[in-house]
Symmetry: C3
Subunit: 270 residues, 3 copies
């Protein structure tokens, strides 16, 4: 049997909001260490991975390794029926092997909801993601990354990300003109979540399709900071920690969501 | 002449919001005791009644019994032109018998609006609603009833309501799986509006079309609690008190809105 | 070269919101005194003028008179990329004469955005607006003017504005009935922005198309009060001051926006 419980269900809603528009069907791999998901987006351009550590859950039990395939849009619909501060328990591999059960318990114990979602057998091949030593690692406020992607999508379809010692610059151009946003490295002791930190080996300039970055930025509510990792000839990695905040405002690191997107090949004749 | 005045117009806006999507045209019956409305919804499946007591109004006068037919969508449009804390006076049977006049007075007396709506002659037969002794009476937070109906409409088209001594359960099933919400009886001395109270003669299980219950739940802003009344072979009654809150936060019971919906016949072969 | 800087960019966003749905392309006339714009709306019925005083800007420089034509919808899109408290600098006539540059600086100096918008050569004839001595001048809360226009547009397509010593009345009629809103002259010492002030030579009654007034009212966020000026056989003038509020909440009068709309000819046979 597989069973996992979170103190505040809102974290699961945020995870689903972060993937369901990119990937409609996917399989969770469950082991005694945790649960994880890997899937290409429906257009087979970008890749998303979710990994949740068993230790981060309020309760976690997985007797045997299991693959749980499902429609993520359906799961998201069901999770929307939970209140943000409901405790949520997920159960699979019980008497009915074709279903996963979700139990929502209101904080006052007077309301209990039970939902069962039908499971699916999905063809899935687990891609090995090579452990990459990136040339550039940028940590920045996730809300700012989201806003920049949305703003520049007003101007063009692609964004050029340039990283030098002086900072990171996002730029775009299109019919109405062009635009660029430049962030300097900055620390803010009072508000560490607003810091921009750049660790780099050598300067890099790459071009990406904005529509995928905008999809990735739907993970913004999960974590105040996002990490962008870039290297030549390697996909960009956009990573968000999955932070659960419990009823006493104590944060637990439940794992992470990471999105991968290959840079566009610059075509000088274009 | 007929004249009725409320201290804070928002209560009339809420009443119209609670009926206008179900019933587009209807007749108000006005007597010296108050005004009332009874109508089938446009698909002739459910019934709604509104009864407002003359005593609850700040001023109420009805010299002779009167039937005032009108388009409720038009009335709702006009009421939206009133600010929430405007005093509203309704007048009919004055010099122009084909119109009803609405006067909105701002609290500071510097702004007065007058609207006239055209009246209609509508065929109407008043159904006698038999005084029923229901087997089960459930009082619960109206916002919770609304949320449960909306949540389960994600799962299926119908809801099974089951009431036992241990509580009330709402359940639904559909293509993506199934779901149920169970409320236990509970009192909350500090927040009586959050209590769930069940009075019952015998257990009951009935099935209803969710789309009507969702329509009924548009009365939620009128009152913090809703009363569900069920009996075998009798329509479900969903009742909301109409509470007016005046400028000094004093509540007046202006009457009630009640919706009726027949249970679906369980068809074992379906 | 032309260069103008505002302390808080939100004022420029509000100006564009006030004109971009009425006029899609227009030319700014820039002189050493300030910058101004005059344009007919796309249906050639109403006229809008914007005048901004150089003195009101934090920095203003215009070496030679210049006409800067552009698509206002594009400019509005770019301005939406600025945060409300970004400092905004506009530059034209620098090395690239076909573009205008906008620079947005975040208050913390760690984020700088630069946008360039393509300029256009537009045919424009500057209409001389005769200096009119109006019979009636009404100052009233701009939010109230906006709400009245929207409310009455539920009733009909036109509004009759009648001004007498006792106050100003807006009325409309249509299929569902008729409506009118009457404001009395009123002063409010504590809240001067809520005052209604009427200065008049003689009573006037004129009819206007509501859809233009609703467009004009998009300037509401610029200023708490609007000034309506009316005279027989002369277009209505609807004027909003352009108030900039800086980081220390100090207000600067940056200029004004004025809309002109001819009254409808009353047709007794209609």
């Amino acid at each position: 049997m597989f069973e996992a419980k979170v103190e505040k269900g809102v974290v699961l809603k945020k995870i689903l909001d972060a993937v369901k528009d990119l990937v409609t069907e996917a399989s969770w791999e469950c082991t005694s260490n945790g649960m994880s998901l890997q899937a290409m987006d429906t257009s087979h351009v970008s890749l998303v991975t979710v990994s949740l550590n068993g230790d981060g859950f309020q309760r976690f039990r997985c007797d045997r390794n299991m693959v749980i395939g499902m429609n993520l849009v359906s799961l998201s619909k069901i999770l929307k029926c939970a209140s943000n501060d409901d405790k949520i328990t997920i159960k699979a591999g019980y008497d009915d092997n074709d279903k996963m059960m979700l139990t929502f318990e209101a904080p006052n114990d007077c309301e209990v909801s039970e939902y069962e979602i039908k499971l699916m057998n999905l063809d899935s091949e687990y891609l090995g993601i090579p452990d990459t030593k990136y040339d550039v690692i940028v940590k920045m406020p996730s809300a700012k990354f989201q806003r920049i992607c949305r703003d520049l999508s007003q101007i063009g379809d692609t964004v050029v990300i340039s990283c030098t010692k002086s900072g990171i610059q996002f730029s775009s151009s299109g019919d109405l003109g062009n635009g660029s946003v430049r962030l300097s490295q900055s620390a803010n002791i009072d508000k560490p979540e607003e810091a921009v930190t750049i660790t780099m080996q050598e300067a890099i300039t790459q071009t990406f399709a904005l529509k995928y970055l905008i999809q990735f930025a739907k993970a913004t509510p999960l974590c105040a900071q996002v990490t962008l990792q870039l290297s030549s000839d390697v996909p960009l990695a956009v990573q968000y920690k999955v932070i659960e905040v419990d009823a006493d405002d104590i944060e637990t690191d439940l794992g992470s969501i990471c999105y991968y997107l290959a840079p566009k090949i610059d075509d000088a004749t274009d």
